[in-house]
């Protein structure tokens, strides 16, 4: 199994990264703060104002290590890219499939089926953990609604109806967000409906940041296998939008994002002081909060789950890569269909 290498997250403003032998050196104001061997690193993610030497970039490109810059809130800003590589035949197959309505529809249904199954699992897990009978029933009812949407999804005949079912399921699911949060935490973490740009409460700030990390991992996974992250099947193509990465991410939002957000909240790992409250209502994780989230996210990626197709235990952090590979295999005609990741 491919080794799950660490992602190095640098969130220190004005940090500078450079190559020294086989190591990466991080310094601030020319003072060396950290030094890590390169061979442990699969990717480098810079959050905020971080600089880097061209020699380090070149070395990472030749090793196949990705480098990206995200802003403080996890939004994508830039990435370093080496020479264009990968398989042109695969990209050609991807572009052709996107133009075939039935193929694109089938893939959309698969991504969303993964999303609904995994979201439903989050609801049921929360129901099991909830001592309040009324709330338990409420969660079970929502889980049932998602199961019905899942069944209807199989018979959806247009992109619009897939979108409709997905939207409907999303509403049902997010309505239960507050129920999935422990009563003791509901003061600090009150979910007031999904808000993105900007997030307007702690829960939204947290899940938006996590989704940004997952999106970045999905994008890297697609690029690693040679797929074009901008050409999606479910998400419409728009300049600058990583549609395929957003498609692939649908299977992972619940597994990697929502479950982790609930854990961080319910275990009291995040508090009021981990957020910045801006004039006018925008809310963001602050530096301390981001560090907690990133650390927990890294730990979560090392846990294992049973993969439904491969029928082996795989590290959660490898799931985007494994799914991207399977998508590539499907597009090149190697396997008959695409199966999204879902845990049973």
């Amino acid at each position: 199994m491919r080794q799950l290498l660490n992602t190095l997250y640098i969130s220190t403003d004005e940090a500078y990264l450079r190559l020294e032998g086989e190591t990466l050196v991080m310094s601030v104001d020319k003072v060396k703060r950290h030094q890590v061997p390169l061979h442990h690193l699969g990717a480098i993610v810079c959050l905020g104002r971080v600089g880097m030497s061209p020699q380090l970039m070149a070395r990472c490109m030749s090793d196949g290590r990705s480098i990206v810059w995200l802003d403080e809130n996890g939004r994508f800003q830039a990435r370093v890219e080496g020479p264009v590589n990968g398989n042109i035949l695969l990209r050609q197959a991807q572009f052709r499939a996107a133009d075939q309505v039935d193929k694109a529809l089938m893939l959309s249904k698969c991504f969303i089926a993964g999303k609904l199954r995994n979201s439903r699992n989050v609801l049921m897990r929360s129901a099991r953990d909830n001592p309040n009978e009324v709330e338990r029933e409420q969660l079970a009812k929502a889980a049932k609604a998602l199961a019905i949407n899942l069944r209807n999804l199989e018979h959806a005949e247009s992109a619009a109806s897939v979108l409709g079912l997905e939207g409907d399921a999303g509403r049902v699911y997010f309505e239960q967000m507050n129920t999935m949060i422990k009563p003791a935490m509901r003061n600090t973490f009150e979910y007031k409906g999904r808000s993105r740009r900007p997030p307007k409460d702690n829960v939204n700030a947290l899940i938006s940041f996590l989704y940004a990390l997952i999106l970045n991992d999905c994008r890297s996974a697609l690029e690693t296998v040679g797929l074009d992250p901008q050409l999606g099947f479910f998400h419409e193509v728009r300049p600058g939008r990583p549609s395929l990465a957003l498609d692939l991410m649908e299977e992972f939002r619940a597994v990697l994002g929502d479950r982790l957000a609930l854990t961080l909240i319910n275990r009291g790992q995040l508090q009021h002081g981990d957020f910045d409250y801006r004039e006018g209502g925008a809310v963001y994780l602050n530096d301390k909060g981001r560090q907690t989230v990133v650390r927990t996210y890294q730990e979560r990626k090392k846990e294992t789950l049973q993969h439904p197709v491969l029928e082996t235990e795989v590290e959660i952090g490898l799931l985007p890569l494994l799914q991207a590979r399977m998508l590539a295999r499907y597009l090149r005609g190697d396997v008959e269909t695409y199966i999204p990741f879902f845990n049973k």
Partner: protein
């Protein structure tokens, strides 16, 4: 004149080992290192240095660029010694033991075909150097080996032009030493029945009712 679809000399050896491996590397552009390929790189360090010169009275070229317009081949020779009369003597470096099949021989013969075209000389033999035993094994360029290699060149070109990926090998022992096993996913392809079952269950969950 139509351009021949150029193939890498290494593609012949890859195809000889496993046609799917050849397609994954030369068509899908997948390459991953494992312990065997890394040992290979280490064994090749001197060879790839491109150092050339006169050794023991023989002219020696390392990492010599090779090409054949007739066969549409391109690549590099590890080591080529030039005999006193200018006849090239190709030597292929291998980190492992002698292979059961003719993979290494094919690569050597293909190199010789290039060298014959490049120099106008006829080559009678070459050698395979086994890094582990540090022994040379002389390989004669017999008509049978030449014919086998020519057939392989045609088969590889057909495969790459078809843009298809062949199924995994049925000789699964080959997969154990293959660095591409992760990307190849022979088990995934073989588990068509698992995929079919999951596909039929994808849109339903047990406790729906």
């Amino acid at each position: 004149m139509s351009d021949l679809y150029l193939i890498m000399l290494s593609a012949l050896q890859h195809y000889s080992y496993c046609p799917r491996q050849c397609a994954l590397i030369h068509q899908e552009q997948i390459f991953e290192d494992n312990v065997f390929t890394i040992r290979g790189h280490l064994a090749h360090e001197r060879v790839d240095s491109g150092e050339s010169g006169v050794e023991y009275g023989l002219r020696v070229e390392r990492a010599l660029p090779l090409f054949s317009e007739r066969y549409g081949l391109v690549g590099k020779a590890d080591v080529v010694e030039f005999l006193a009369d200018g006849t090239p003597y190709p030597i292929e470096y291998k980190q492992g033991k002698r292979q059961q099949k003719l993979h290494d021989e094919v690569q050597l013969i293909a190199q010789a075909l290039c060298l014959e075209e490049m120099t106008g000389k006829t080559i009678a033999e070459g050698a395979i150097f086994h890094h582990k035993s540090r022994r040379r094994r002389v390989v004669a360029l017999t008509p049978a080996l030449r014919a086998h290699t020519e057939q392989l060149i045609i088969a590889v070109r057909q495969l790459l032009l078809s843009a298809q990926i062949p199924p995994p090998t049925t000789e699964r022992a080959l997969c154990e030493n293959c660095s591409l096993v992760e990307a190849c996913q022979p088990d995934l392809i073989a588990s068509a029945s698992v995929i079919k079952r999951l596909r039929s269950q994808l849109f339903s969950v047990e406790d729906e009712a």
